[in-house]
């Protein structure tokens, strides 16, 4: 197993510093460039903010939303309505417009949540078409109702008493720079927060997200809300620039164009959103300079879009990967695997406390006429490792799915430390202290090891503990991006993260699949220590009998959805029924 050390450090102050520098640069630009040339740069910033919003829902959370400019339209509409109706008079003085913009952002976020509701059941292109339909309906409505300022025949009062003349344009540009910087900083911190991790996680796997104790609904709706909030802010900013909005600026086709542009540049990255804004404005401008029809710019976007989408890449990720490769060459990758890491002192198979922690009584699961599990009764004792074995199709994974709430219904009862779990949603069960891992890779590659550990452990482990657990399982350090980690190690990290969450019981679904034999042994040496070291009781599903034998306090055998045998290692493994189920009858003859 290859482990790559990555030298980057977590610098929480960096976004603030870059933002501060950007504001200074913006002011210099505003001073140097003549005011009548500042209209386009302001438009660049408005487009960039729109793209940042789209980057959250589409780039980070992986849901295609084709109504980003409808959010901008709602934002502009709200700002104009407050400005034209002037309900607060002069309470906020020069800050009136800023207050309106914030209200516009919040109002648009509320609409964003409503628009996001279908995303809880609908995915992929179904969702894309729904959002496009919503954009079309918004467009028709705006065509009929128009915007408040246009209807009243007025212009919106610009923020801070800035005039409608070129002098005012200078101020508006600086205002736009400040707003852009604030939005960019906000999104950057959000991307590194729990919310950001939940968006990246939900884009990769909904089941994995729920198993990490995070509500999939919450993750999706917050992504839509943040995206809409940012879209509304962009709409408000646009209104401060042009003072009277028109529906034609927000048509569904332009939303589609925004989406393609976002996909081309990879607008979940702030700098790329800025580049997207520049492309959005500069390509038409250059064409205009050369007296080429403006439509050619859309042709160019179309070609760029087809190119980017067919190669499945975006500029931002390509550039970053290129840089990473160059930096990576300077670092010598170190070979550190489970097997070759420091030997762990031998520990005996754990003995329990005698208290039943996870109590399963009469668990039955039916898929139509097929009984996957029949009347399974099982008790997991605190402080032990229970090995669950059985041939393929015996119902082992179905048992885990049922226990962790992923099946719509099951018969029988499940209690954890006396608390019934039967009716709870998967994320509630995970938070309640029953965690699981997956046979498939459910570790989102867009996160770093540390962000994933924090996301899964939900504040249960201090940074020092996370480092310690990672070292214990010979996993890469927290700074490593998961995309550089091989699949076998990713599954070890999943186990480590689940242990860091300190559940009462952890269900491991074939954690050692994909590891070599030496690594199996080393993994078993560590697993035996987990109950005493971290206070986590384990139910282990595993095909490798050597591993099961080396760690299990007791063993249960499932066959055809029923418990075939249960008890101590010796009694179960010498049971002729078990041998028959496992080895096949011919083997015994």
């Amino acid at each position: 197993m290859l482990r790559v050390r990555v030298a980057s450090q977590e610098k929480w102050w960096l976004p603030l510093a870059i933002g501060g520098i950007a504001i200074v640069v913006g002011i210099i630009i505003a001073v140097v460039i003549p005011a009548d040339s500042l209209f386009r740069p302001t438009t660049i910033l408005v487009a960039s903010i729109s793209l940042m919003g789209l980057g959250v829902v589409t780039g980070t959370a992986g849901m295609i939303a084709l109504c980003q400019l409808s959010f901008a339209a709602v934002g502009a509409w709200i700002v104009e309505w407050f400005s034209v109706n002037d309900i607060w008079g002069n309470i906020f003085g020069n800050f009136s417009f800023v207050v309106y913009m914030l209200i516009a952002g919040i109002g648009t976020a509320a609409i964003g949540v409503v628009v996001g509701l279908p995303a809880l059941r609908l995915r992929g292109v179904n969702l894309a078409v729904i959002t496009l339909g919503i954009a079309a309906a918004f467009d028709l409505t705006l065509q009929k109702t128009s915007f408040p300022a246009l209807v009243a025949g007025e212009h919106v009062a610009r923020p801070f008493g800035l005039g409608p003349d070129f002098g005012g344009d200078k101020g508006i540009f600086i205002f736009a720079v400040v707003v852009t910087v604030l939005v960019a900083i906000g999104i950057t911190y959000l991307q590194y927060s729990r919310w950001g991790s939940s968006w990246k996680s939900v884009a990769f796997s909904e089941r994995g997200t729920a198993s990490a104790g995070t509500s999939v609904q919450f993750a999706k709706l917050t992504a839509f809300a943040v995206s809409a909030f940012v879209g509304g802010i962009a709409g408000g900013l646009f209104d401060s620039q042009i003072t009277q909005a028109n529906f034609s600026s927000f048509s569904p086709l332009q939303s589609l164009g925004m989406y393609v542009l976002s996909a081309v540049v990879g607008s979940h990255l702030i700098d790329m959103a800025l580049l997207g804004g520049i492309l959005f404005v500069v390509i038409p401008w250059i064409l205009q300079l050369f007296k080429v029809p403006l439509e050619w710019s859309t042709v160019i976007f179309g070609v760029l879009g087809i190119q980017a989408l067919t190669t499945g890449s975006n500029l931002g990720t390509d550039i970053r990967n290129g840089l990473r490769r160059r930096r990576g060459r300077a670092l010598v990758p170190t070979e550190v695997g489970l097997a070759s890491s420091d030997a762990i002192a031998a520990v005996e198979i754990p003995r329990g406390t005698g208290k039943v922690l996870l109590d399963i009584k009469g668990l039955t699961v039916e898929f139509g006429a097929v009984k996957a599990l029949t009347n399974v009764t099982l008790a997991v004792e605190e402080g032990t490792i229970l090995g669950l074995i059985g041939p393929n199709g015996a119902g082992k994974s179905t048992l885990i799915d049922a226990l962790t709430g992923f099946l719509p219904a099951h018969g029988g009862t499940v209690t954890l430390n006396g608390v019934p779990l039967d009716k709870l949603a998967p994320n509630r069960i995970a938070r309640g202290g029953l965690r699981r891992t997956y046979q498939q890779d459910r570790v989102p590659p867009t996160l770093s090891v540390g962000a994933y550990m924090r996301f899964v452990s939900r504040g249960q482990a201090k940074p020092s503990e996370i480092d310690e657990i990672l070292a214990f399982f010979a996993c890469p350090p927290v700074r490593t991006p998961l995309s550089l980690v091989d699949v076998g190690t990713r599954r070890l990290i999943e186990v480590a993260a689940s242990i860091a969450a300190k559940p009462q019981v952890l269900l491991l679904d074939e954690p050692a699949a994909g590891l070599s034999h030496d690594e199996h042994v080393a993994f078993g040496d560590r697993l035996r220590q987990v109950p005493s070291r971290y206070g986590v009781t384990i139910l282990l599903i595993e095909h490798d009998l050597d591993l099961v034998r080396s760690v299990s306090t007791s063993i249960t055998v499932l066959n055809f959805g029923e418990v075939l045998a249960s008890g101590s290692q010796e009694s179960v493994l010498s049971n002729p029924e078990v041998l028959k189920a496992y080895m096949g009858e011919t083997e015994l003859l």
């Binding site: 059941r121 992929g124 729904i130 976007f301 067919t310």
Partner: protein, 288 residues
């Protein structure tokens, strides 16, 4: 009065139905939601318009060439997707068609100019009167018949012909079909070709009686996709019914000027609710 409105809504409704059925076919057979479905037809329509008005060719020749252009454009797009995105997700494949849609609209502005001209008429005039006084035009009947023929025809074609079975095999298990020696790419491209041609024919039929500027015409793909959504991009019969229903509802609401804003929202809200109910068991992104 209201019946008249409903009947008036049936022509666009049948157009949505055709587009919806085409989108369903494409989605099932080639794993794409083709946002450029109507745009290729639009482009073909303007080619025939140019041939008829500028080069004074007979309408029949112009329309035939236009339909061929639509089919070839569609096949070209299909070939691009089949070549570079054969393993990609449906979302990525569909996003390419979004770019193609924008591309075709802007190319139309460049090639055919900014002034819209009416399309050459193929079918026109009233056909018969309903008892309530509602007039049913020939176009309405032709388009509805076309929608039904396409739906039933594709269903029968996929079910009963050897070629149809091959197409289904390709869409179900592409790898297995390839191992059986089927030319997956050519089968895919042929689907694109045929749906492009049907889009061209549809535009040639309804174009003269509808607003035919580049954007409005290409945007018919949005209500068409809404119709396809009724069948969740899986069932052509539901797409057909959905398209006609959307058109009828929009026509019905046209009679109530007070409800004009609601009218624009009714179809999409209805479809969202229907889908939420229809897909209520799709709680998770993957089965396990």
């Amino acid at each position: 009065m209201w019946l008249n409105n409903v009947v008036a809504g049936l022509t666009p409704g049948a157009t949505y139905a055709i587009v919806g059925v085409l989108l369903t076919l494409m989605s099932q057979l080639t794993r794409v939601v083709n946002f450029a479905q109507v745009a290729v037809g639009m482009f073909g329509g303007y080619i025939s318009l140019t041939l008829v008005t500028k080069m004074h060719l007979p309408i029949f020749v112009g329309v035939t060439v236009g339909v061929l252009v639509a089919a070839i454009l569609s096949a070209l797009l299909g070939w691009i997707i089949a070549t570079w995105l054969s393993e990609a997700s449906t979302s990525a494949r569909s996003a390419v068609t979004v770019a193609a849609l924008l591309f075709l609209i802007s190319l139309a502005f460049i090639l055919f100019g900014y002034r819209n001209q009416p399309f050459p008429t193929i079918v026109a005039g009233p056909l018969f009167k309903l008892p309530g006084g509602a007039v049913v035009s020939k176009v309405t009947v032709v388009v509805i018949v076309l929608a039904i023929v396409i739906t039933v025809g594709s269903w029968a074609f996929l079910k009963f012909t050897a070629f149809g079975v091959k197409l289904r095999a390709v869409s179900d298990r592409q790898m297995a079909a390839e191992l059986l020696g089927l030319n997956v790419k050519m089968l895919n491209v042929s689907v694109w070709f045929v749906t492009g041609a049907i889009a061209g024919i549809t535009v040639a039929l309804v174009g003269p009686s509808a607003s035919n500027d580049y954007v409005t015409l290409s945007s018919v793909v949005i209500p068409g996709a809404a119709a396809a959504l009724v069948g969740a991009f899986r069932r052509m019969d539901l797409a057909l019914i959905g398209g006609l229903a959307i058109g009828a509802i929009q026509g019905l609401f046209a009679g109530f000027p007070n409800l004009l804003i609601i009218r624009d929202w009714v179809p999409i809200i209805f479809i969202i609710l229907f889908l939420l109910w229809n897909q209520r068991k799709e709680v998770w992104d993957v089965a396990r």
